[in-house]
Amino acid sequence: MSLAIINIAYLVAALLFIWGLKELAHPRTARRGNGIAAVGMLIAIVFTLLDRQVLSYGAIFVALLIGSAIGVVLAYRIRMTAMPQMVALLNGFGGGASVLVAGAALIEAVGIVERPVTLQLTVSTAASGLIGAVTFWGSLVAFAKLQEIVPGQPILLPGRHAINALLAVATLVLGAGVVLQPDAVWLYWLVVAVASALGVLTVIPIGGADMPVVISLLNSYSGLAGCATGFVLNNNMLIIAGSLVGASGIILTQIMCKAMNRSLPNVLFGGVGVVAAGSSAEADVYAGRIKAATAEEVAMLLDGARRVMIVPGYGMAVSQAQHAVRDLMRLLESRGTEVAFAIHPVAGRMPGHMNVLLAEADIPYEKMLTMEEANPLFEQTDVAIVIGANDVVNPLAREQASGPIAGMPILDVDKARTVVVVKRSLSPGFAGIPNPLFAADNTLMYFADGKKAILDLINAVKDL
């Protein structure tokens, strides 16, 4: 098939991607948008197969089949609570593919006489190798942390900034080597190797609660890697699609950083989450001021409450409490109470994590309020139930001028008439600081595992 027709097909695919993303940004049309983008991808794949350069199909179909089978299994077997690691893993595969394609292109270019080895080709090949390898290994480390194959806490190597700076310089020098000596293909693989180490070492120091930033950033990288590969192959399709993804990842990264009042470098290099020995500070904050409550006491509180706000955090995901929470919501609603959910932008381990879990439990998305929507409502809220959230409801963020969460926008749950905090213990959140909310006059601590706590609470409300 002629190149012109293939390029027109690519144009159609690109338009479908843009249209699909536009629809994906609105709740009502999101599912259709995803389908539209998938059709764009199908068109791109089919017309690439018809390219005259493609000489044999056997191996291609085998590879397409293997990849599809793995993709289908992953997509349908994954539990919704495991979505963050799924997204990380898929990001990684995209980055890995870019590394391989750029490597193959370099080998072809230096081996085929009639294809000129241009500056564009060598520079973008080095960039693909670098970004792709960082994406691949960074994503695998993020996956391993989220899956708890390696500890979720930051792992801080001594002298890590120096090591990372050295590795970054090394990749750039080796990348320059690829540009100057494209015939020496081993230099490219050396770039990939060093960038791999860089990918591992830059993500390993980043702790659990900063994962939303890392995942959105890696998402952006996987797009940029595809984009760089587009420059290698002189292929508009890759450049357009890669740029769209790169841009969306950057936007999400910015939203996440803003929601934590931290800069991207601070998240990447800050190593926040190293729990300092703060026992004396904790004793000061909590001493004698913690009021524990039982399920029955909380149930009495809920009896006659007109408005209840539920504030979920990562702990809800860990204890798989979303279905129990849904049952509690329905029970309270049947008793005439208005129930809504207040969701902090960085609650959980990826952007939108809580929304996905609550949606899985059939909670309509109109009930999931953003921080901006929820905060003005807390003053008219009778009971705020915090389940598995800590740092995002810590009033210190408003009051302190310095500290790991100073200036972070928080959910103002302390403005509710009564706050019930469902938590197993008084242990600090990711930021490693005590939470004065737990000791506030209007707070009751309901110590239990999240799911069990809500199930007991449901029974207690039924017994009223």
Partner: protein, 93 residues
């Protein structure tokens, strides 16, 4: 050089379109947007199919083969899991 300027133009315009299209997304859709756009980044499949199909050397064919598998996992897994997730998002009856 003009080739490079052409695709550079496309790159810059595509980035701008990306920012424009995605700048206002409600938090509820952050995860699906991420996994859906992630599937789109599997577009490297196009390059992977070309490397594998050209059968230039055994090495490039092997690299292409692996790349097709990787990219296809990204594409199929990404679109399907996004669809599964979005299927759960419901409005109030």
């Amino acid at each position: 050089m003009s080739d490079f300027v052409d695709i550079l133009t496309i790159f810059v315009l595509a980035i701008l379109v990306g920012f424009e299209v995605i700048s206002k997304v409600p938090p509820t859709l952050h995860t699906p947007l991420m996994s859906g756009s992630n599937a789109i980044s599997g577009i490297t499949i196009v390059g992977a199919i070309l490397s594998l199909g050209m059968q230039h050397t055994t090495l490039t064919a092997v690299l292409g083969f692996l790349a097709v598998i990787f990219a296809m996992i990204n594409v199929v897994g990404g679109f399907l899991v996004t669809d599964r997730m979005l299927g759960m998002f419901k409005r109030k009856e």
